[in-house]
């Protein structure tokens, strides 16, 4: 078992079973639908045109590739969308390093060759993003290959194992054929995904957002820089955009739609489910820089005559963001806000205790309170959540501390 670099294989002379030189290696193809890492064939440039040399026919490889078959048996190469061409699609291109959580450029590709039954199994094992690959490619054909190998061994490798590589492909049809699903990327924290996405060109960003799970996409979108956010959503098709926006917190969704050009936000709203659309439209009607513009309408409110168990039931069925859970609000007749119970008290009290007994004085503000005053209230009363109450005393929504931090950080 040994490792050979893609840049060594490219341009290597190919000798067939008779020992005659038949051509040079031009490309190496992997067919992800058959096997995720296995080299399917080598494209060999021969005087008679390009041939697809099946990888199973390769006996040895390196500076010279030897085969067990004769060149007459190699079929003509027919270009296909369904294979990954290592030189064209990978070498010198950007990829996502899922483990290192960043976008990197590929200097070389490492292929492992394992002798099996008289031929070689070639597998892509890693991409080289460090000095070793760079120097190998610079010195290729200039420094004798033996000296070069000795020299390169002295350079510490910087490689990314293949399972941590997510390829960037902007053509949706080809993404399906090549089985690119951004599973690795989607497994990261949304804040890390957002950092990576911000480093990508527009078309590649769009590709990521077309592919990853809607929920992850929604969370990632919330973490992105406002300009980037807008340009991504405007580039997606309306159905997809609506699906993602539905998954966002209503306040974040309203902020986002407020930033979009009217034609885009209107079309997205039209595609949304009625319930989510109603929540978001309500929020959109308030000014962005007021309490109502910053609040979320997903909160927990329980009748004031309930007991701790009722609150726990409400917690179990709550679908909103975790940050909204810090306080359970109590409502009286006509949905009027009458009290607030911190989550901690629920946790340490026995199930049958009446919630009104646990209630604490609460702080509330009107929907049109400017955001600066909202921040001042959080500061003064050390709040985690703040209730927003309409003119009838009803709880309209809540603002959470993380909204305030975002608001303060984006204030120029």
């Amino acid at each position: 078992m040994s490792v050979v670099a893609l840049s060594e294989l490219l341009g290597a002379t190919v000798r067939d079973a008779t020992g005659t030189v038949r051509g040079r290696v031009r490309e190496i193809a992997v067919a992800p639908q058959d096997h995720p890492t296995r080299v399917a064939y080598l494209i060999v440039k021969t005087p008679g045109g390009e041939r697809a040399l099946p990888a199973d026919d390769v006996k040895s490889c390196g500076g010279t590739v030897r085969t067990v078959t004769e060149s007459g048996q190699w079929s003509a190469y027919v270009p296909s969308d369904g294979v990954l061409l290592l030189k064209r699609d990978l070498l010198d291109q950007q990829i996502i390093d899922v483990h290192g959580r960043k976008v990197v450029r590929v200097n070389d590709v490492e292929i492992e060759s394992t002798p099996t039954n008289g031929h070689l199994l070639l597998n892509v094992v890693a991409v080289d993003v460090g000095a070793r690959g760079a120097i190998r490619r610079l010195s290729k054909g200039v420094v004798p290959s033996f000296t070069l190998r000795l020299l390169l061994e002295k350079i510490p490798p910087r490689v990314i194992p293949w399972q941590f590589v997510d390829l960037l492909e902007t053509d949706p049809a080809r993404r399906v054929k090549l089985k690119i699903a951004y599973e690795g990327l989607a497994g990261l924290h949304p804040a890390d995904i957002a950092d990576i996405v911000e480093d990508l060109p527009a078309a590649e960003r769009e590709a990521v957002f077309e592919t990853i799970d809607e929920e992850v996409a929604a969370e990632t979108l919330e973490e992105l820089d406002p300009d980037v956010k807008v340009s991504i959503v405007e580039s997606l098709d309306k159905d997809r955009a609506a699906d993602i926006v539905e998954e966002m917190d209503p306040d974040a969704a309203a902020d986002l739609l407020g930033d979009l050009a009217e034609e885009h936000s209107g079309e997205i709203l039209k595609e949304m489910e009625p319930k989510e659309r109603r929540e978001v439209t309500q929020l959109l009607e308030f000014g962005e820089h007021t309490a109502a513009g910053r609040m979320t309408t997903e909160f927990i409110a329980v009748p004031e005559n309930g007991v701790v168990d009722d609150a726990i039931e409400a917690l179990k069925t709550f679908e909103g963001g975790r940050e909204a859970l810090a306080t359970i609000y109590l409502t009286g007749p006509a949905q009027k806000l009458s009290g607030a119970v911190p989550l901690v008290k629920i946790a340490i009290s026995s199930p049958a205790i009446g919630l009104s007994q646990l209630s604490e004085p609460y702080i509330a503000c009107a929907p049109d309170t400017p955001q600066n005053e909202v921040a001042a209230l959080f500061d003064k009363y050390n709040l985690i959540t703040l209730a927003v109450v309409d003119e009838h005393g009803r709880l309209a929504g809540i603002i959470t501390a993380d909204d305030v931090i975002t608001m303060l950080r984006h204030r120029d």
Partner: protein
Amino acid sequence: MSLLHKGLRHRLTLFLAVLGPGFITASVDQDAPGIFTYSQAGAQFGYALLWTMIPISVSLIVVQEMAARMGAVTGKGLSDLIREEFGFRITFFLMIALVVTNFGNVVAEFAGVASSLELFGASRYVVVPAAAFIVWVIAVRGTYDSIEKIFLTASAFYVSYVIAGLLAQPDWKAAAFATVTRPSATGIRSYSYVYMVVALVGTTIAPWMQFYLQASVVEKGVTVRQYWASRWDVVLGCLFAVVIAWFIIVACAATLYTNGIHNITSATDAAQALRPLAGDYAYLLFAAGLFNASLFAASILPISTAYAVCEGLGFESGLDKKFHEAPVFYWLYTLLIVAGAGVLLIPDLPLVYISVLSQVANGVVLPFVLIFMLMLTNDRELMGAYTNSRRFNVIAWATVIVMILLTIVMMVRRG
């Protein structure tokens, strides 16, 4: 509000949002060596070289438009595209050449800062380190938006050359006429005339501009949908730059040439020679304009070089990264400033020689960059529907070939 009115306002807002990269790049182009060349052209030949302004505008627009279009369509920088399409080895050598060339330019810009402020009696041993510090801070502390505002303001100061031109009281009719007439056949036979034409073209189109413009179009997030606005930004920026050049030539022609001062050796020379002829205000405006232009260009060159090199070669880059995350980027950036400014503190430095050398380096690198750009903008897989049209290609290739020929002529004659 009528729909038409609304549509117009919408487009205007969009245009203003996209305005910046093209305008800034073209302005920075009128840097210290540029101002010197225009002054020299005016002093030596009067209005006779004004005809070059129209062909120069066309070539400048054609080249810059390609860079901006590539940025908007691909969302990638020029060095990224060269790396992806032409491989590591070519990119590596091109980046080395770019660093060397741009280093020469950085030195020339700091020299412009030093000599313009020396006119006001400031010592270069104070001015150059201070300028280097300002340049470093602008890029490291600023965001793209704030830097763009500073730069757009700096662009506005170029108007000082227009005022200096007005103060010089030129013969407007003769100047306007010279701009639109064909060059005289006798002039072309003279060596110094051809040399000056070459220098004018050479100082206007430089390799770094293409990398900078494309990168800032990308950074600004301009996409294909807003590209029409970006194109206007480029065209207006180029026209603005050429108008400034025109006024510098006219100012020097009306004063220096008319009074028999045909040979100047630097832009500060031109400013000093203007003083007795056009008055103190023209002199001050000329000197202040030179300072503004040099500092402006010195702020852009090191950072844009660091970005281009790191992106092309795959090093981490970006001011949002910490030093240890992007060491090559920060080292390259800092070294270009420190060494570029430091060189000027060496006593008895042959500044003229260095400035010539930096222009020669520009000339050597430029043809390669232009050819890569043409190949990239004609690549259908990359540009989709936005490849060059046939007519555009004719103009672009003609520009490239003329640029290459001129550069060869210039270097052969210089060597």
